[in-house]
């Protein structure tokens, strides 16, 4: 280990980096969720507009 900086600095880097990774993974899951939700909602809603019975 090169011992880059103090322990506090190292922990901070870790927190930021892991935060970014969590964000990226979260984005992927949200993408799927929102696509499915979008088509589920719009599919039902739009279809009823045309065929009310």
């Amino acid at each position: 280990m090169t011992g880059a900086g103090s322990r506090r600095y190292r922990m901070m880097t870790e927190r930021v980096a892991f935060g970014v990774i969590r964000l990226l993974a979260g984005l992927v899951v949200i993408t799927l969720g929102s696509i499915v939700l979008f088509f589920a909602l719009s599919g039902c809603e739009r279809h009823q507009l045309v065929f009310p019975d």
């Binding site: 280990m1 190292r10 870790e14 892991f18 992927v28 899951v29 979008f38």
Partner: protein
């Protein structure tokens, strides 16, 4: 079960099969050979179908596609900027289509690589067992979304939104097509990268922790470098997927056969051109052959991507802790 164990299994079972044959030498050897040999060749034949299909794909693509070079000079075919297949006289220059394909592939990988690799890192380093199962299932479901559905999403949501927010002439452009293509490439990148991260020997990680490194230092200096060839393979296969994807670029890229001057220009990537025009191209005509020739170019480009990916993953395979 670890890969090493399953290799052992195969060896052991083939050993015991040999022993079995020897002990049965009282029954007719010929009969036994037939009993054991015939199924083997049957299964070999089945396994060879994939090779046969690859060969047939090449034969038929070339058979139908090479005919165009009898009428159009290969140089003007590959480097001609004008794609006017229905004009009289028609012009068959596919440079704009190639540039279109390359631009959406590159830009989509810019979006897909951080998201795909990030998710893989999350799965292998940060996620707990339960969350991991769910996130993996989500990635798998993302991969299963039909391309026409994502293309539709691009048409009705992403393109209009982009047109309004960024005030560009058309929302059907390189950027919106790339965003949708990235959604399709992410699962490929994530699952292959995750396998690669998983294959890094635990010993190396533990040695790093023992030296006092934090989780982040271990991840960035031991885990990722150890899995780099696998991540590279993942990225290349993801790009290959994006390049060959048809419906998304057909519906979202705009379809203008021009060399783009900005990221917000419409393009007509190769798969889009094939899919859109094959229905109208008179069978056996020049246009028909030209579309097959585009198919050859597309096939060869993705084939090269795949061969490079295979080469990297074979060449730099981690063979256990001792190779580091």
């Amino acid at each position: 079960m670890t890969p090493a164990m399953s290799e052992g299994d195969v060896q052991m079972s083939s050993l015991s099969a040999g022993g079995n044959q020897d002990s049965n030498s009282t029954t007719s050897v010929v009969e036994l050979k037939v009993q054991e040999g015939l199924p083997k060749y049957f299964f070999l034949a089945a396994a060879s179908t994939s090779l046969l299909v690859m060969a047939l794909i090449m034969i038929f693509l070339f058979r139908e596609g090479l005919a165009i070079f009898g009428k159009v000079n290969p140089v003007s075919f590959f480097f001609g900027k004008a794609w006017y297949p229905t004009y009289d006289p028609p012009e068959f220059g596919i440079l704009a289509l190639i540039v279109g394909s390359v631009s959406v592939t590159l830009f989509s990988s810019l979006v897909a690589i951080p998201l795909g690799v990030g998710t893989a890192l999350y799965l292998s380093v940060l996620a707990g067992p339960t969350v991991r199962e769910y996130v993996k299932a989500a990635v798998e479901l993302l991969a299963s979304l039909p391309s026409v559905v994502l293309g539709f999403l691009g048409m009705v949501v992403i393109a209009p939104a982009m047109q309004q927010i960024l005030d560009v002439p058309t929302g059907l452009n390189i950027v919106s097509a790339s965003i949708v293509l990235a959604i399709m490439a992410i699962p490929t990148i994530t699952s292959i990268s995750e396998d690669a991260l998983y294959a890094v020997p635990r010993d190396n990680l533990e040695a790093s922790y023992a030296l006092g490194a934090t989780r982040w230092e271990t991840m960035s200096r031991i885990l990722v470098p150890g899995a780099l060839s696998g991540i590279g393979t993942a990225v290349i296969l993801g790009m290959s997927r994006a390049m060959g994807e048809t419906m998304v670029v057909l519906m979202v890229a705009g379809g203008a056969a021009q060399i783009p001057s900005s990221l917000f220009d419409s393009v007509r990537p190769m798969p889009a051109s094939i899919a859109a025009e094959m229905g109208e191209a008179p069978f056996g005509g020049e246009h028909y052959h030209a579309l097959f020739a585009i198919g050859i170019v597309l096939f060869l480009m993705t084939l090269i991507f795949n061969l490079v990916a295979t080469y990297i993953s074979n060449r730099f395979q981690q063979k256990g802790a001792s190779t580091l």
